[in-house]
């Protein structure tokens, strides 16, 4: 499309339209979009969705999947977090790009984002939803997946980098980062399960610490005690155990755990990466 004066100003006008994000506080997919908007310095209205009682607005804006997050901008409703992140780059190309500029590097970033959602995320979800030998197999799968990422950091595509995006965070940092906090939370909730050993995955570990130290990440990721309470509640529901586990849960966590919410599918809640 040619950059005529007319469509440049159309694009500029479109960029000025207000942003609204429908999300859920414990959804790492939602966190990805919140973090990206903060990185780009874009103002947005946030609407919290009760996933046990989805709003008419959400069902209207995302009829295909009925999930959060959904970004509303200039009359468009955009579901799917990785689609949204790329949209933000397309609509605001000159502000803090999330994707690198070189086509081959962009392809690598997209490949690993897909890996995160297609392989690593479901593997972590499987660990959380299972017990015994089934869980052991799922843990091994997580380790295999983390080992692949560790190898890229050590000697592959991301060798020597502070972040996957280079000196600054990029799309893959946002995708992996918003979700990797669940690894430590799940380890805490499930005794004896080791997911992200600093000895086994030193570079991944270091990257994660660096990511979590960023101001924008701290503003986006919920406090760990809320995440723990949420995870305990979900674990109980998934395994149908009533009142089991660590009794040190705070009153608010217990309330969340016992709230009348229908058992969510693993992909519906924050059991993702």
């Amino acid at each position: 499309m040619e950059k005529t004066p007319e469509n440049v100003s159309q694009q500029a006008a479109a960029a000025e339209a207000p942003l609204k994000l429908l999300g859920s506080w414990a959804s790492s997919y939602t966190h990805r979009v919140q973090l990206a908007l903060r990185l780009k310095g874009l103002e947005f209205e946030y609407a919290e969705e009760d996933l046990g009682n989805k709003s008419d607005e959400l069902l209207r804006l995302n009829p295909v999947y009925k999930k959060v997050p959904v970004l509303v901008h200039g009359g468009r409703s955009l579901p799917e977090s990785v689609v949204i992140l790329q949209y933000l780059d397309d609509a605001w190309p000159h502000i803090r790009p999330l994707l690198p500029s070189d086509p081959f590097d962009r392809a690598l970033a997209r490949f690993w984002c897909h890996f995160a959602d297609d392989k690593l995320g479901p593997a972590v979800g499987a660990v959380f939803a299972s017990t015994g030998s089934e869980q052991e197999a799922a843990v091994r799968q997580v380790h295999e997946n983390l080992a692949l990422i560790e190898a890229e950091l050590r000697e592959g595509a991301f060798k020597g980098r502070r972040f996957f995006g280079g000196d600054e965070v990029g799309i893959l940092d946002v995708v992996l980062g918003c979700g990797s906090y669940w690894l430590a939370v799940f380890e805490e909730v499930m005794d004896g399960v080791r997911l992200v050993d600093a000895d086994a995955f030193p570079l991944f570990h270091a990257w994660l610490r660096g990511f979590e130290a960023l101001d924008e990440a701290r503003d986006t990721i919920p406090p760990v005690d809320r995440l723990l309470g949420y995870a305990r509640g979900v674990r109980h529901m998934l395994l149908g155990l009533a009142g089991a586990g660590d009794g040190a849960a705070a009153p608010t966590a217990a309330a969340e755990a016992t709230a009348p919410v229908p058992a969510p599918a693993a992909t519906d809640i924050a059991v993702d990466i």
């Binding site: 499309m1 479109a14 295909v64 901008h73 200039g74 468009r76 955009l78 579901p79 799917e80 689609v83 949204i84 790329q86 949209y87 397309d90 609509a91 086509p103 081959f104 962009r106 392809a107 997209r110 490949f111 897909h114 890996f115 692949l148």
Partner: protein
């Protein structure tokens, strides 16, 4: 379009019936890019394939100047970005691009994955019956999205059409495995498939539905639940 030396340095590792490989063939043809097509033996994977895609060991893989790009939708976007002078697959409007990516992803997660369960799980078993319901719903959704538009991308054939059209050859198989009438479930999609089939890029790249059905029989035999 000038005839490029060395096929633009492009090689495509593919497999004849794979819809994911076919997306790439169609994209390359649409963009008028010559390339070397390297058919792979998936029962005996080559060193080249294993080195090019060590993570998944799958086709398609595009090699450009020897550097590998994996995942069909990643390849399609790479072709647009590495060859900007050749006609674009993705539209330029950000919202339209998001729409294209969304629906391409939908086909992967809702149609293809469901299709695997349809042939893999034992016919009539609970998971297979569940897969039938999901496939019908997915095809109805896609049919509704197409609506009265000539193409999924709108007035002109585009990225999302390239992403979806290889699955058109699987509709007959899905209908047989799922015991539903394809014409009744997604009539507009059927007409769209015929329309797309008139394009040279598509006609050259996809195989007839009966050939796909034959292949499905082979898959069921080899990998399906007994």
């Amino acid at each position: 379009m000038a005839v490029e030396k060395n096929n633009n340095g492009l090689q495509l590792l593919g497999f004849w019936v794979s819809p994911f490989a076919q997306r790439c063939h169609i994209a390359l043809a649409e963009k008028g890019l010559s390339y070397e097509s390297l058919e792979q033996d998936l029962s005996n994977k080559s060193e080249l394939l294993l080195r090019a895609n060590p993570v998944h060991k799958k086709i398609p893989v595009l090699l450009h100047g020897g550097r590998p790009i994996c995942e069909s939708l990643v390849i399609l976007q790479y072709l647009d970005e590495a060859f900007p002078e050749a006609s674009a697959l993705l539209p330029s409007d950000p919202g339209a691009r998001a729409h294209a990516r969304f629906w391409a992803g939908f086909v992967d997660t809702k149609v293809f994955e469901c299709g695997v369960r349809l042939w893999k799980r034992k016919a009539g078993s609970e998971p297979q019956v569940q897969a039938r319901k999901e496939m019908v719903e997915a095809l109805r959704t896609l049919d509704a999205e197409l609506g009265d538009k000539p193409f999924l991308a709108g007035e002109a054939f585009g990225f999302v059409d390239v992403a979806v059209v290889p699955f058109a050859a699987w509709l007959v198989s899905y209908g047989r495995l799922g015991e539903f009438d394809v014409e009744e479930v997604c009539p507009r999609l059927v007409a769209w498939a015929e329309r797309c089939g008139e394009r040279e890029s598509v006609a050259k790249s996809i195989h007839p539905p009966e050939k796909v059905w034959e292949f499905v029989g082979f898959l069921k035999n080899k990998l399906g639940d007994k």
